[in-house]
Symmetry: C2
Subunit: 406 residues, 2 copies
């Protein structure tokens, strides 16, 4: 049975649609069904005298149906001024009566019945936009010679620090740990001569945080580039890439999203502190970040050594590192990495890391180009683009310390 | 320092390259370094009388270097008839003497030092091709209205059967299980009205298999489509999509890969058995599959119920399912799924599955369109395209029961 997308229905032609019954209204002389597919919704009309009337009256909201009939212009119909006068209705799958949630249901229960919540067009749009975002990211990477990476999520030791890592028994090898980030492996790709890599994939954090910005599993977006001169090269790449991504969202969707024209402002960590002290806000905390950043983008650069991991490259007590803030929220952490084996070994030792990162230190033993990169959580970016209250709404199925279902 | 890709070096101009020292030859009057980047390799020449000679003599193979100088045509040089006469050499990272592997090292030790093995152009090409393959897959999906999915890898129960699943303690919720496939969640997306989805992401199998075709973690390629009439719709989609993908590999790389013109042949499971019996081979085992398939593609369809999972749609004791074979190896399993709640519940019960899949059965309670899809391991496809001996060489970092490193 051929199928017409609902937005492609044309008056005075026959149409065969397929979708969910969003609502049903049974009147004295007629039954109205609003049927939705991914493109839109349409009113299906069945006269009570029509042989299909009994079936239409009996349909439950939520049911998956195919409907064929004549498309008729009807100015009285709110949905685009057309209705589909049904000649055939097939109930492919009948919904149980009484859907367990509607738009007014509390957030946690919305997550319990996520697949029903996702049927609402505003929720599905989040994932249409996410699809555009990832497509635009990869377009830009492809044009700039990046190789796609799928780094392992099962590791023989914790990827950066052992404190917030999931672990499990693994055959005769003791335990395996779930990767907190692809950090070490994308750097390995630099030692392997891949020069430029990207990965979009899951990462796992066993932290008990329950904030609107945290999850125990999320989709991480990561790049790494060789032969850079400093972290400035990475920031320049990121701002051009993000402009391309936000431009694609603006072009392909009916969404207000700012696309900055030029470079993003940069502020060193020290200068940021000074600015905040000048306005009587002594801390570079989230509220301070919001003060500095406003509604736009801001690179905060050159963090002190003690705030950054051992593998960031150091210079005069600072690191060649940056955070990118947008709308007051940190969306990216990036840096030039230390690629010199002797320096890196010393920094690892000072951080109290020894045996657990020895396999990582080996990556730098046989030559490695200077390199750097960045990583961030996809859901944070989507949350900010779509003005969502939390990353839960920007994630297909949220995972937190108290949620493993559905 | 601006950088020229090695393949872009032009005689009688200055060039500044960056890469690894592949080999060094110290002669009486001259030092030759072969330097490689992602695009190619070039001979760097330093006269022993040049101020850089001492540094050049001292360089270790594997070191990451920048070299600037004059590009000179020299018909005596095997690598493209040019050499770079160095005016400046910077050792960005010096390799320790004696690389632990070379091309003759045994396979397991190659995996131990994977980042060094990956420096060989033939190995890196595997991932250049993989990048093209995934890009072409997503191009085709984008043109056909697919939404990108990132389904959770942490689950509260085993995704299909409990026997081969990794599990770990998870806060106060008991245990979490690692997803064996995104199967249940891509079907959830159908119940959510996403209509067409794809996912490329990791899956985890705790099976102790050690064959050249198995891994405990691999990258799975999955799609699911709504409003199909049968598994034939899925097969038609897959063969067109694969033609696009193989065509992209042929167009973008210098690789012999067959791109079939029309539909792939189809053979039912029963007919396949009959054909094999006729040639005296009673079993549909790997050798039998090879006999049927030859060097091309073959859809084997309509498997008996007892060979398929409970969620495949059934018809007359058979399932609406298929495998796709290529070069005698199974690369895909696909099917139309059972979307009718009552039928699915019955089939789950018959399979002895109850409480553990109840959340999955709920997806079908409130209406779900007819749908189907397929899934397969990316590395198998890459292995076949590149004629590699095993999926280990087609995987960035292989994971097996006896390998969690590097």
């Amino acid at each position: 049975m051929a199928r017409t997308h609902i937005t492609h229905l044309t008056p005075n032609t026959t149409g065969a649609i397929a979708g969910f019954v969003a609502t049903k209204r049974v009147l004295k002389s007629v039954v109205f069904l609003i049927v939705e597919d991914r493109t839109g919704s349409v009113q299906v009309t069945v006269d009570r005298t029509h042989p299909l009337a009994e079936l239409a009256v009996d349909i439950t909201p939520g049911s998956a149906v195919r409907v064929a009939g004549m498309v008729t212009a009807n100015p009285a119909v709110k949905l685009g001024g057309i209705e589909l006068r049904a000649d055939a209705i097939e109930v492919a799958s009948r919904a149980a009566p009484e859907l367990p949630i509607d738009e007014t249901t509390a957030p946690e229960r919305q997550l319990d019945w996520r697949f029903l919540a996702l049927r609402r067009p505003s929720n599905r749009l989040v994932f249409e936009v996410q699809t555009t975002v990832e497509r635009a990211m990869r377009e830009y990477w492809a044009e700039h010679g990046f190789i796609e990476l799928h780094s392992p999520k099962l590791m023989h030791s914790a990827s950066e620090s052992g404190s917030e890592t999931f672990s499990m028994p693994y055959f005769d090898l003791g335990h395996a740990y779930l990767a907190q980030s692809p950090q070490f492996y994308k750097q390995m790709a630099m030692a392997a001569g891949f020069e430029r890599v990207f990965e979009i994939g899951p990462v796992f954090r066993a932290e008990p945080s329950m904030t609107p910005r945290h999850a125990t599993e999320f989709t991480s977006v990561d790049i790494e580039m060789s032969w850079i001169d400093s972290h400035e090269d990475i920031m320049q790449f990121e701002e051009r890439w993000l402009r391309h991504v936000l431009g694609a969202v603006r072009d392909r969707h009916d969404i207000e999203v700012p696309v900055p024209e030029g470079p993003f402002p940069r502020l060193t960590f020290d200068a940021a502190h000074q600015q905040l002290r000048d306005v009587g806000h002594p801390e570079l905390d989230p509220a301070g970040e919001r003060l500095l950043c406003g509604d736009g983008f801001l690179f905060l650069t050159d963090y002190p050594v003690e705030l950054r991991p051992f593998y960031h490259m150091r210079e005069n007590g600072l690191t060649r590192s940056f955070d990118l803030l947008w709308r007051g929220i940190e969306i990216t952490t990036g840096a030039q990495r230390e690629h010199r084996h002797d320096v890196l070994v010393r920094q690892a030792k000072e951080a109290g890391l020894g045996q657990s990162v020895s396999y990582y230190l080996d990556f730098f033993k046989y030559g490695c180009p200077p390199h750097g990169g960045f990583g961030f959580g996809l859901a944070r970016l989507i949350m900010l683009i779509m003005n969502l209250p939390s990353i839960r709404e920007a994630t297909f199925l949220h995972r937190s310390p108290n949620r493993l279902t559905p």
